[in-house]
Symmetry: C2
Subunit: 336 residues, 2 copies
DNA sequence: TTGTAGGCGTTATCAA
DNA sequence: TTGATAACGCCTACAA
């Protein structure tokens, strides 16, 4: 509520003086008497600077916009938490951008509501509109997430992992266990690109491949259960399931037990992403661990640096790739 | 990048005219020629109004600050998603406030960085500082969450459920199944108030009560596993576990299977909150469903109304209570 | 039907 | 060592 002007009057100085003292602007040495009078008046009036007014003149909102796909997916909680932590360490705040809402990242940045846009995506590629955003607004945009087959978005700093790599690791794991075929749990056909990658890798390894899809989109756990039920009716019954997501895998396991079978004795199931629940699933889920946290940290750090130095140069220099990793737990075993 | 002034020059009118036309300010009828010239210039220059400048003069940021405890707890994803949805339906954005960060809700509101503060808490009560915030800033604060024993925060619009109610429902369920005693999985002692409530209710029902605690705080799944292991060594072994949280319950089930026992054949386990994973746990988790979404929706709607009408009256009128509900699934059964 | 002037709270520029 | 003054982009009396 209190403004710099009020402090100035209270302390009998000018607003300029108050601003400089309160902000410790370098290059100005004020008389101790003035300093203390200002400081005291500020405390007395319970002064809090207005970030809005500041943002207007400094052209800096101190806001990081975080765009994620699904806020209730534990997998996306990672970038959210990470980014929030890094932001508040710098005294910045975060704003959430979700896909359904009318407010998209591009609009947010164009209007100058955020200094940095962090895109934590479920897939990279097809990002032309991103570059537009980058050019149109002078803000900083960085991207973290998995790469499928599309080329990386150019002109945007990116950290990523190769979805193909994780898929291969999982497929090889199943092959090594002795499985001759995999059934991939794709879900809604919007997830087709990933499935195609899996198919390619399976063929390279010499694993028979089959995919289960769903016409209607649904929350992942439900998708998993639904596909699990479909699988239970397939003859011959698949020996190994590779789910698009840990949640899909857990949903599938639910359906398998519902049908009176067991994992991995009757059928092996593996997931993707290694969310915390994977470790504590019953049975503990074999899955592919994915470096989402590292990716976010990497690009966001670059973005913060760029923001501080004011040079956007470092932003496009490199696109760093982080490795994925097989986490072998108990939901996979040799076929019966 | 483009400003109203630039449009004004481009269209050969004054800034005032541009502002009024672009905002459809009622009470002004402009010549069609002027209108179209302004509109065209705006499109031509790709004009986007600056929310920062607007916020400064309108004293309205169009931001809702959402304070939650743990971003990666699926339980807290509910208020987050709900609030974000309601916000963006009104063209507002959200900012996240997490406990660890230096940025707290009070500071945010005092500085006028948000119009509404939504506190989606893990517990109600002890909210004196809240009222300070309310009085100090002219912003709107509302609260949603569980109530333990403390009185509701007064002077703040609240929607809540009674933690005691859910606890009783769970305890009664176990008693009806024939259990003579419960072991409550409390976790870190910061969760003691809820445990005390459970103890009281157990005594009222005539159920022997015992609590398992932990000295070190840990993520809930790990807490659950740790306490599950402790329980496995207790003699006589408990017949029924009541976990503070679904995640704790799932962690405990993990430890139970690790020890070679089964749920519910050897031991019953129930959780609290009914997160999506509860339904798909193995076995599906009996739990208490909690109306977090309804609570958030209720108070946030009140807050939005208050913001629109400008009267804070409606805000303190009522504190609505929503019921909790037992969800009986398969992790509980009569004792062996 | 349109425009002018002033202000929202802060910082930057220039002068003293 | 300190102050005027003018922005930042928008909105709202008040005037014409």
């Amino acid at each position: 509520m209190a403004t710099i002007q009020q402090i100035a009057e209270e302390a009998g100085v000018s607003g300029t003086t108050v601003s400089r003292i309160l902000n410790d602007v370098p290059g100005y040495t004020y008389a101790e008497r003035t300093r203390s009078r200002v400081l005291e008046a500020a405390r007395w009036l319970d002064y809090h600077p207005s970030p809005v007014a500041r943002a207007l003149v400094r052209r800096r909102t101190n806001v990081i916009a975080i765009a994620i796909r699904e806020p209730d997916d534990p997998h996306y909680a990672i970038p959210l938490r990470r980014a929030h932590k890094m932001a508040s360490a710098k005294g910045m705040t975060t704003t959430l951008v979700l896909p359904d809402s009318g407010m998209d990242l591009q609009a947010l940045l164009q209007r100058g509501q955020a200094d940095i846009g962090l895109l934590a995506r479920g897939s990279l590629g097809n990002c032309e509109s991103l570059e537009d955003a980058l050019v149109a607004s002078h803000q900083i945009v960085v991207v973290a997430g998995p790469r499928y087959t599309y080329p990386l978005p150019s002109g945007v700093r990116t950290a990523y992992w190769e979805e193909r790599e994780g898929l291969r690791q999982g497929l090889e794991h199943l092959a090594e266990l002795g499985h001759a075929s995999v059934t991939y749990l794709q879900g809604h056909h919007s997830n087709r690109p990933k499935m195609e990658l899996a198919r390619q890798e399976a063929e390279r390894i010499g694993l028979a491949f089959e995919a289960v899809g769903l016409n209607e989109p649904a929350p992942r756990l439900w998708e998993g259960a639904e596909m699990g039920r479909l699988v239970m009716e397939m003859r011959p019954r698949p020996t190994a399931l590779f789910a698009r997501t840990d949640e899909v895998a857990i949903g599938a396991i639910y359906a398998i037990y519902e049908a009176g079978l067991r994992v991995p004795e009757d059928i092996s199931v593996m997931g993707h992403f290694d969310i915390p629940f994977a470790e504590f699933a019953n049975p503990p889920l074999t899955t592919i661990s994915t470096p989402f946290a590292e990716c976010v940290e990497d690009v966001l750090q670059a973005a913060l640096d760029a923001l501080e130095t004011g040079s956007r140069e470092a932003l496009v220099l490199e696109n760093i790739r982080f490795p994925t990793r097989l986490v072998h737990r108990r939901s996979t075993a040799p076929p019966a």
